[in-house]
């Protein structure tokens, strides 16, 4: 490998054109696994790569590897619905998600890679007065934290998103909505590629096809990880293994407050611009969100399947349920055909909020339990987790997100649902 990829610019494009083939180089491949590292990050998805990038950039850790079971970006960073937003109720959550949204706004510049942040707005819809009260409460909480939130009445929603008015009379009419204009979408694969490229440029070894099978410890301190390619010594170990955090807990002999569930998403055939924004509707026994990708496919997702699974194969009844809800919101979608459908394996915590903390050993960290909100937090999670790993102290933004909260009763339960991820 000849060194990192050149910086992307119009000038670089021109030079590449003149230089012919061989100017662009692989973004991250070709690194060899070494025997020992200061930090080993397990999982080359969004959170793992962002953590490695911030450890290298902000804390100047150079001897670092990211070990990946399969390929860069092969897990949930490539299986989500690309939505970014910070419209959360609880202060511990909305300050963190807002930090993330601010980072999304400048991420393309920071990483010199176009991640296609599209602030097309996100609208939580209300179909009843009771739901409006809930949205008003959440919007007020956000505005107290200086996060943009706008409560819209029916007319406001239809003015912002005229496509919602295109249908005839509805059984349950739209009463209003909560709009966050800076919310929107980001090109998910590009995020993994951008962080992988940026981390590689800072000297991080990204090793694909290198599954971690165990942790070796001595005298209460972890000394390294067992991998399919042999033993690797590590001073500190970070697990960022979305969907398999519970299984990592078992590997370390810890039952975590996590259940592992499937979330499905599906996309229709591409059509001309039809869905202008991101629409979310949460109802008593599920939820549905609809957006349109830049390629034109209408993307839909909803509630989880409802029982532990690692299969990445969604249940038909949930797919049906999501499509029915989407068609109820936007009857125009009824004539479209589903082109692709997939499921991702999610860590669902017992309060619906994430966990970044030490686990089992003083020098082993876990970044997981992202529930529905993993993708949108990648930049903030990387920065905060890196600070915890490098300094040993959790920054203010994630101080409330330790494992201890479940034992002390300081839960971060947005929906107030109690210790069951399935029940709404």
């Amino acid at each position: 490998m000849k060194g990192p990829e050149p910086r992307y610019s119009a000038w670089a494009l021109l030079r590449a054109r003149l230089a012919g083939t061989g100017y662009w180089r692989p973004l991250w491949s070709g690194r060899r696994l070494r025997e020992a590292y200061d930090v080993v990050v397990v999982g080359a998805g969004g959170h793992g790569l962002a953590t490695a990038y911030h450890l290298a950039r902000d804390h100047h850790i150079r001897r670092m590897a990211v070990l990946e079971k399969r390929l860069v970006g092969y897990g949930n960073v490539g299986r989500n619905t690309t939505i970014v937003r910070s419209n959360y109720l609880l202060p511990e959550n909305h300050y963190f998600y807002e930090d993330s949204l601010r980072r999304w706004e400048r991420l393309s510049h920071d990483l010199n890679y176009n991640v296609m942040y599209s602030p097309r707005g996100i609208v939580d819809l209300a179909l009843s007065d009771g739901e409006m009260v809930g949205l008003a409460r959440r919007g007020n909480a956000m505005r107290l934290a200086a996060i943009d939130a706008q409560l819209l009445d029916r007319r406001g929603v239809l003015k912002f998103a005229p496509e919602l008015a295109a249908s005839g009379p509805r059984r349950f009419d739209i009463v209003g909505g909560l709009l966050q204009r800076r919310g929107g979408t980001v090109r998910h694969d590009a995020v993994a590629w951008a962080y992988a490229r940026a981390a590689t440029a800072l000297g991080v070894d990204i090793i694909e096809d290198c599954e971690v099978t165990g942790v070796r410890a001595e005298g209460g301190i972890a000394t390294g990880v067992e991998t399919r390619r042999g033993y690797v010594k590590a001073d500190r170990i970070v697990f960022a293994v979305a969907g398999h955090t519970g299984a990592i807990g078992e590997m370390l002999g810890v039952h975590l407050p996590i259940e592992t569930h499937l979330l499905q998403a599906m996309v229709t055939e591409p059509v001309k611009p039809l869905v202008s924004s991101v629409f979310v509707y949460v109802y008593p026994h599920g939820e549905c969100y609809v957006t349109q990708s830049d390629r034109g496919g209408v993307l839909m997702g909803g509630f989880m399947d409802g029982f532990p699974s690692y299969t990445q194969e969604g249940q038909w009844f949930r797919l049906e349920d999501v499509v029915q809800s989407a068609v109820a919101l936007l009857p125009q979608l009824a004539s479209l055909r589903i082109l692709r459908h997939w499921a991702g394996v999610q860590d669902m915590t017992m309060d619906g909020s994430f966990i970044i903390d030490r686990i089992r050993y003083d020098n082993v960290f876990v970044n997981g339990g992202w529930c529905y909100g993993g993708f949108k937090t990648i930049p903030a999670s990387g920065a905060a987790c890196a600070t915890l790993v490098a300094t040993g102290t959790a920054p203010d933004l994630i101080r409330a997100h330790g494992l201890a909260r479940f034992a002390t009763g300081h839960l971060l339960d947005e929906r107030g649902g109690g210790p069951f991820p399935v029940r709404l």
Binding site: G246, T260, T311, M350, A407, P419
Partner: protein, 80 residues
């Protein structure tokens, strides 16, 4: 995994059943019983209920990596 076989009702659509939680470790404390879950990749022991059927509580051993049901019985034993 699209169906479960209820001991009373026979094979029924999965939608009729509701997953409750994985079994806590025996002798675990109250915190563990409420919050902790076993997350075994290939062997999960779970409580389910046939909520939209006979409402029987079931004890199911499954492989969550394949969806295969390894064992299904009434909670507390017995049967029709």
């Amino acid at each position: 995994m699209t169906r479960l076989t209820c001991p009373f009702c026979g094979p029924r659509d999965l939608q009729e059943f509701e997953f409750r939680k994985t079994l806590p470790e025996p002798d675990s404390n109250a915190y563990a019983q409420v919050y902790e879950r076993a997350n075994r990749l290939e062997d999960s022991l779970e409580h389910w209920q046939h909520v939209h059927g006979c409402r029987a509580w079931l004890l199911i051993r499954r492989n969550p990596s394949t969806g295969q049901v390894l064992k299904l019985e009434l909670m507390g034993g017995g049967g029709p």
